[in-house]
């Protein structure tokens, strides 16, 4: 479905991704793990169009997206749940969700968008009671649910998730990852970026390990859990939490 080929992304002279290649098959749940500064978030920003690509290709179902502007990528089926959520704070929960379906405003019947809205509110019932509330007044976990819901409203074929558990209580993080797991079981393709390797390797079926802008290992998540390299990368990090 998605093939990233020799992707290079630079901030000025500093290369954050130095020729990264990876693939995601339809319906897969793929993880990207690695320490801070490994280029995980950069990858998602480049895939979603927020960062320009210096070299390489991003091929989604045969089309190179590298030059497609960010606002056109969502209609190609790519949606992102960004790090830090980036919900529209001064707008209501409902308005945030409506904007998630913005690119479908001319193509989807209203009833279909409304049905999707119901689906999101069923997935995250806590949002239902808060649909008129401003997004800025939600708790961190609720904002994360809103960010996921907003992305789902675009009916993505590929969902990019950047540290959805960051800064959340374990119970809340588990609830969100559980919901994502159910969506994946229904056929949604997901790319999960996580600093918390244990969490990511449990949720996904296949993973890539990033270090300093390169893929240093990849394979089934179950195997990677036993891979000494992963342990080495994370040595001393266990239990310290993400920061």
């Amino acid at each position: 479905m998605l093939a990233v080929e020799e992707l290079v992304v630079a901030y000025g002279r500093i290369q954050a991704l130095r020729g990264v290649s990876l693939t995601i098959g339809r319906g897969e749940y793929v993880g990207v793990i690695g320490p801070n500064g490994a280029g995980k978030t950069t990858l998602l920003l480049a895939l979603s169009g927020a960062l320009p690509v210096a070299a390489g290709r991003i091929v989604l179902d045969g089309e190179d997206l590298a030059r497609v502007p960010a606002h056109a990528r969502v209609s190609r089926g790519v949606a992102i749940v960004p790090e830090g959520r980036e919900v529209f704070g001064p707008l209501s929960v409902r308005e945030n969700l409506e904007l998630g379906a913005y690119h479908r405003r001319r193509t989807a019947p209203r009833a279909e968008v409304r049905a999707d809205l119901e689906m999101v509110l069923d997935l995250f019932p806590v949002l239902r009671g808060r649909s008129r509330q401003l997004a800025a007044t939600l708790s961190g976990g609720e904002q994360q649910m809103l960010a996921v819901g907003r992305a789902l409203m675009s009916r993505p074929r590929l969902l990019l998730l950047d540290e959805p558990s960051l800064g959340l209580a374990p119970v809340v993080a588990a609830e969100i990852l559980g919901a994502l797991g159910r969506l994946h079981a229904q056929g949604l393709t997901c790319l999960l970026v996580e600093q918390d390797a244990t969490l990511a390797l449990q949720a996904t079926s296949r993973s890539y390990v990033f270090r300093t802008g390169l893929v240093v290992a990849h394979g089934s998540s179950a195997e990677l859990r036993r891979n000494p390299l992963v342990e080495e990368i994370y040595l001393g990090r266990a239990g310290s939490g993400a920061c």
């Binding site: 169009g49 927020a50 606002h71 949606a79 919900v87 704070g89 001064p90 913005y102 690119h103 675009s154």
Partner: protein, 297 residues
Amino acid sequence: MLSLLPLLVVNGVVFGAIYGLNAVGFSVMYNATNIINFAQGEFLMLGGMLTLLFYGDGRVPLPVAAAGAVLATTLIGLLIERAAIRPLWRRRAKDWTYIFMLFAVATVVPNAVMLAISRDAATFPAFSGTRPLALGPVTVAPQAFWVLGLTAVVALGLYGFFTHTLTGKAMKAIAVNRRAAAWMGIPVERMVALSFALSAGLGALAGVVVTPLITTQFNIGLPFTLKGFAAAVIGGLGNIGGAIVGGLILGVLEALSSAFVSSMYGDAVTYGILLVILLVRPSGLFRPLVELTEEEI
């Protein structure tokens, strides 16, 4: 002197409505871009001056000339966005860069109008004649009703636009977080252009309805910019209803202070009172439509 009070208030309300319309222009652009448009008054000036140009003492029917002027000003707004704003936007310039750029525009445009159209003050006929209508104790020029009617229609229309249409909400989303708005599929640059077109068109409309009450000239833009900005800030920058209320407060204060204090110190008294309002309520009387939380700034 007190017997003049009703007349002064009515006059203040009429001019306040014009300030309010201009303030709405500020708010529309601010809602979409967080840019303070220091050329807003120039759109008002262009609306009046271009109508004069097209009207040419009756060669073209006034409504046609006015519609042409609003359209032309809208196109000029789009041109300014394309030539002066978009290059900055693409390079993620700091907010103050836009202010400076628009200030430059506000200097160039009046000079161009002076050279290309006229340096003289002029006006065109009121829309529905000049026979005053009695309204209780005061008589009011029929043009005043055009001003008030247009203000009401614009305010209601824009309120509906920002609160009930997806396009209006998308505009607000851009002001809050440009990157996230693009992720939603919102074409950010096209929306910014739309906000310039809207602001320019609104400014031109204000210029068209106010010109028969005053005279217009190439250099009236700046005072209207300052008053429109003041009205927008008092009302809560970005809040459409607040912009109108801010304009009305400013207009009435101005009318009363120039009559009861002195026309010389009128502005000083007006802005003095506005200062006090802002000291008490720094973010304006009403909640801005797009209120950025500290985290987003």
